[in-house]
């Protein structure tokens, strides 16, 4: 689609899209009736528990399970030996993460599991498993892990992009950019180079991982679990356990938060292995401590940024080198950090280099715009400092250099239709930007970007005999997506929202669906829902045509009715969806529409956040006083849940900026595996989070939808850091900006 083409939804008057109906799963969730991962049980169910390594890095010489197996009530014990060999690299890493192979690679790494008739018997059995460890030197910090003499986790895993002679902990090198950075820096009036560090954080979903597995002697298995993608769980577990995909049916429970952290498997293959060995259903639920020690937090990072600016605010060059440790296996999101960190700027000269590094920590898993917040933090901090040094308005400078339609992005492509300037203009015009500040208060602004994603998607839409409609989709609803699908189906069909019910189908009901990730659901599943509805409409028009005895293409669909297309088509009273449905049996049988697609055309999105913070100069305590989110949603289907995504992302970013961190002791063990000392924001820490929804339609979606879930966590690290730095009078370059660090920086700056 060319940039000057009109969007198909432009000028369309929506009846349902853009309103705020009550979500279909709402009553279940306010009455306690909704069933989450740990809420299911089965007759004869066993309790499964995992034995975890107390060492950050250790060779497993032997595991003796004889005593545990002999304990009354114990029905199965499994170790890595109970899983077969897996040839695929990615699957093997997942298997080695859910059950250690020859080495335990981090504190909390699973080494064995038991299933028993009671929790107390299972706990007792864990104590009876004898593991002989040879403790090895470990490495936690990303910069230390890159040193040539650092303890090595895996030999021979570095790929062809890593220069010879570097640490074997470096898995991959990425590079993006264009132009001549040195020449650009030489043309600048001011150049600032800074180094930043960010701590590993956790998604912090309130629901721990949980599942219930059963398997018969014929190899057919059922799995109930909380996940962002039950099709992924099915495929991964089947691959690990050597099962045919069709033999494993996975049902997604309601999911108590994920934010990327439930886009892989942890317990599920183990529960299936225990169920296979015991012949009984096995339920496994992680404790909060296990969630912190052994699920997937984010990367900790170390980033250098150098940016040159002219006195008029023109950015002449941007350069960044990003080092992300991604835990014990390859695959940190450093590439996304490197690709996205300069995305908000139209730069002639730009280069970003990323290093993917392993360390003795749990394998990182996606967290909302994985990799992007840290890179944006570093770049937006330096842009902010340059603005300050040159006495320039921070939003004017961003507008002056902003990526626009057709800008060649730092990561390669030219942007199509994007909303960054609209976002920045809205921020500039907002009263928040010019509101007065008091003593020890500072204002921060920062931009953020995320790609968004489409992917494999299936939707089936069935027209019921009474004129109601059922939509089946295959993506777990993590924030109200059933409401959005219901709205889009009702909008297309022209029937009331209340007459459509959307269900998350199990893996036997639909074809492959990608995980609920990449902010893809409202975009991709929405697109498939609209197309499935259109397919059903085509059938309903054909049925009406048959009844009227006219050509199918002489029938149009308007406001939930089939109508003759014009005076020449004949004079027939419109037939409603319900009327057509009522006679479906007589006109050819049940009516349904479906759509299966690898959805392409996801639209990138930009946000800008404004935040006011106050710093107590005597204690380093930071209080967030005011916060406003501006973000391009493309089209907000259910604005209340779009606002909710903006607010939630902002607050997670505030936590990341101020207090959340993985704290390791010298022994390589995690010191704060609980909500007491892993400090996510509480209600009293925060003001209201104001939101402004910008709508610049995505050409790739019939209604213009862009994903909204992830972009909102990209700007806040930098926005809060800029506000705190302004309030404290000193630039802070390390996250989290916990009070001891802020106070130290203030005292150091004051001598």
């Amino acid at each position: 689609m060319a940039l000057d083409d009109k969007h198909e939804a432009e000028g369309r008057v929506f009846k349902i899209v853009g309103t705020r109906p009550i979500r279909p799963d709402g009553i279940d969730k306010v009455t306690g009736r909704a069933r989450f991962g740990a809420d299911m049980s089965a007759p004869g169910m066993l309790v499964g528990l995992i034995l975890r390594s107390p060492h950050a890095h250790a060779r497993i010489r032997s595991i003796n399970i004889a005593k545990a197996e002999a304990l009354p009530g114990v029905k199965a014990v499994v170790t890595r030996a109970d899983f077969g060999n897996v040839s695929d690299d990615d699957l093997r890493d997942i298997l080695h993460n859910v059950m250690a192979h020859d080495k335990a690679l981090y504190d909390g790494h699973a080494v064995a599991a038991v299933a028993a008739t009671s929790t107390s018997a299972a706990r007792q059995a864990l104590k009876l498993i004898e593991v002989d460890y040879e403790v090895l030197p470990h490495v936690i910090d990303v910069d230390e892990a890159m040193q040539p003499d650092a303890p090595v986790l895996h030999e021979g895993r570095s790929d062809e992009t890593v220069p010879a002679g570097m640490s074997a902990n470096i898995m991959h090198r990425f590079e993006y950019g264009h132009g001549d950075v040195e020449a650009g820096l030489a043309a600048a009036d001011e150049v600032i180079e800074r180094s930043f560090k960010t701590a590993a954080t956790h998604q912090g979903y309130i629901e721990p991982h949980a599942c219930l597995a059963s398997m018969g002697p014929d190899g057919q298995a059922d799995l109930w679990c909380c996940t962002q993608g039950h099709y992924m769980v099915r495929n991964t577990c089947a691959g690990i356990l050597g099962m045919e995909v069709s033999q494993l049916k996975v049902t997604a429970s309601e999911i108590g938060g994920g934010f990327g952290g439930k886009t892989t498997v942890f317990l599920e293959p183990v529960a299936l292995a225990l169920a296979r060995k015991s012949g009984r259903p096995v339920k496994m639920v992680m404790s909060r401590e296990e969630v912190f020690r052994a699920s997937g937090p984010t990367s900790s990072t170390s980033i250098d940024v150098k940016i040159g600016m002219k006195r008029d605010g023109t950015i002449t060059a941007g350069w960044a080198e990003l080092r992300y440790q991604g835990g014990a296996f390859p695959g940190s999101p450093v590439q996304f950090g490197a690709m996205s960190c300069f995305a908000a700027y139209d730069l002639a000269n730009v280069q970003a280099i990323g290093w993917d590094v392993v360390a003795n920590r749990p394998k990182q898993i996606a967290y909302r715009a994985p990799g992007a917040p840290m890179g944006a933090y570093a770049v937006e901090s330096v842009v902010d400092e340059l603005c300050g040094k040159l006495g320039l308005d921070r939003l004017e400078v961003r507008l002056k250099n902003a990526s626009r339609d057709g800008t060649k992005a730092a990561y390669g492509p030219r942007f199509g239709r994007i909303g960054l300037t609209a976002v920045l203009e809205a921020a500039k015009a907002h009263p928040h930007y010019t509101a007065p500040l008091g003593p020890n208060q500072g204002r921060g602004v920062a931009c953020g970007f995320w790609f968004n994603f489409g992917g494999d998607t299936c939707v089936s839409l069935n027209v019921n005999p009474d004129g109601t409609v059922g939509v089946s989709e295959g993506n777990p609803d993590i924030g109200g997506s059933r409401a959005a699908m219901t709205m889009m189906a009702a909008e297309e069909l022209g029937i009331p929202y209340e007459r459509v019910r959307t269900t998350i189908a199990d893996t036997s009901a639909l074809g492959q669906n990608d995980v609920t990730d990449g902010s893809r659901v409202t975009f991709a599943v929405g697109l498939a829902t609209i197309k499935a509805a259109r397919a059903a409409i085509t059938i309903m028009c054909a049925r009406a045509a048959k009844i009227w005895g006219i050509d199918a293409d002489a029938v149009v669909w308007e406001d939930g009715h089939a109508k003759p297309a014009g005076p020449n088509a004949g004079k027939f009273p419109p037939m409603s969806l319900a009327e057509i449905a009522a006679v479906a049996t007589n006109t050819g049988g049940p009516i349904a529409g479906h759509h299966e697609v690898n959805a392409e055309g996801a639209g990138v999105s930009f946000a800008a956040h404004l935040v006011d913070a106050e710093v107590d100069p005597e204690t380093g305590a930071v209080k967030i006083l005011r916060y406003t989110v501006f973000q391009d949603a493309g089209k907000a289907v259910h604005p209340a849940y779009v606002e909710g995504q903006f607010q939630g992302g902002a607050v997670q970013g505030i936590g990341w900026a101020l207090n959340e961190e993985y704290i390791y002791g010298a022994d390589g063990r995690l010191q704060n595996p609980g909500f007491l000392d892993y400090r996510i924001p509480v209600a009293s820490d925060l003001p209201m989070i104001d939101t402004v929804i910008i709508e610049v339609a995505n050409p790739g979606h019939p209604y213009g939808v862009r994903g909204v879930g992830e972009t909102s966590i990209v700007p806040p690290l930098a926005a809060v850091a800029n506000a705190v730095s302004a309030a404290a009078g000193v630039r802070l370059t390390e996250l989290p900006m916990s009070p001891p660090k802020v106070l130290h920086a203030i005292d150091a700056a004051r001598g």
Binding site: E618, L676, R679, V682
Partner: protein, 285 residues
């Protein structure tokens, strides 16, 4: 593990004293159940003291207040008389955990858990509170500062129960306050805590003061040098600066996941000034 909920102190004491294995007292349970959960030493016996007559009462005594061992923080916060006399102690207890924790956690439990960071303890030490300890060998009255002997360790003998805590009568023109530093606004363990109690004469000169520090040593500290900076002064800016310096000097903290030596040392002084200012306002009425 056995669970017992005796009706009398005598039977509680004899259960605890007679247990051959390990025994734990359950009052609010907000520390004990966390320990059970994490599997750190499940005791052989738990004695729930909440069903003992009178142990959940706040009673006036000799012009002061006796707070039973099973009185929750929420109940203290709802007691107007106690709050009027010892607002700092009540506020300190109410700072322990969330609203949910407040429904269960007790001041006596906070004391006997013997955490150096316990919020109510510096306030109680500043208040010169006295614990009534009942055991197999009878009753003794112990200054609250003498209960904890180190992190998680107490001077209580086997079978002994802190039955109540006595907050003494208040002189005219007295006030107390407790402040702690935490990274968030709620739900954290104190990184530093400071309790201040002081009394003024009619002219506004401080005639008596007690200052205590939490989370800066193995036990809560009573800092007499800090109190001395206030006594004889009008608690003015100069006195407050001396107070801050004395508190920072007395702090002997460690570096840990919650704070640094540098931070705790400085903030002990900062909070002391702020707590003393609040106590002063309260003393002035």
């Amino acid at each position: 593990m056995r669970y017992e909920a005796p009706r009398t102190l005598e039977s509680a004491v004899s259960l605890l004293a007679g247990e051959p294995g390990s025994a734990q007292i359950l009052a609010g349970g907000t520390d004990l159940l966390v320990r059970l959960r994490t599997g750190i030493g499940e005791p052989d016996l738990i004695v729930d003291i909440k069903r003992i007559d009178g142990i959940s009462a706040i009673t006036a005594e000799n012009g002061g207040w006796r707070v039973g061992a099973a009185v929750s923080g929420a109940e203290m916060g709802e007691h107007d008389g106690l709050k009027a006399d010892w607002p700092g102690v009540v506020e300190a207890t109410e700072l322990i955990g969330s609203t949910q924790i407040q429904g269960r956690a007790t001041m006596a439990g906070n004391l006997c858990n013997a955490s150096p960071a316990a919020d109510s303890v510096p306030a109680m030490v500043a208040a010169n509170a006295v614990a009534r300890v009942i055991g197999p060998n009878g009753t003794r009255e112990v200054a609250v500062g003498d209960i904890a002997t180190g992190p998680g360790k107490t001077s209580l003998a086997k079978g002994e129960i802190v039955e109540s805590i006595f907050l003494p009568a208040r002189a005219a023109r007295s006030g107390d306050a407790y402040l702690r530093f935490i990274p968030r606004t709620e739900m954290d363990i104190a990184v530093v805590g400071v309790g201040v109690s002081l009394t003024l004469d009619a002219s506004g000169t401080c005639t008596a003061a007690r200052v205590s520090l939490g989370a800066v040593a193995a036990t809560v500290l009573l800092v007499e040098e800090a109190a001395a900076t206030l006594i004889g002064s009008p608690v003015d800016e100069a006195a407050l600066e001396r107070l801050a310096a004395a508190c920072s000097a007395a702090a002997k903290p460690i570096d840990d996941k919650r704070g640094t030596i540098e931070f705790r040392t400085k903030v002990a002084g900062v909070l002391a000034k702020r707590a003393a200012t609040i106590a002063l306002e309260r003393a002035k009425g």
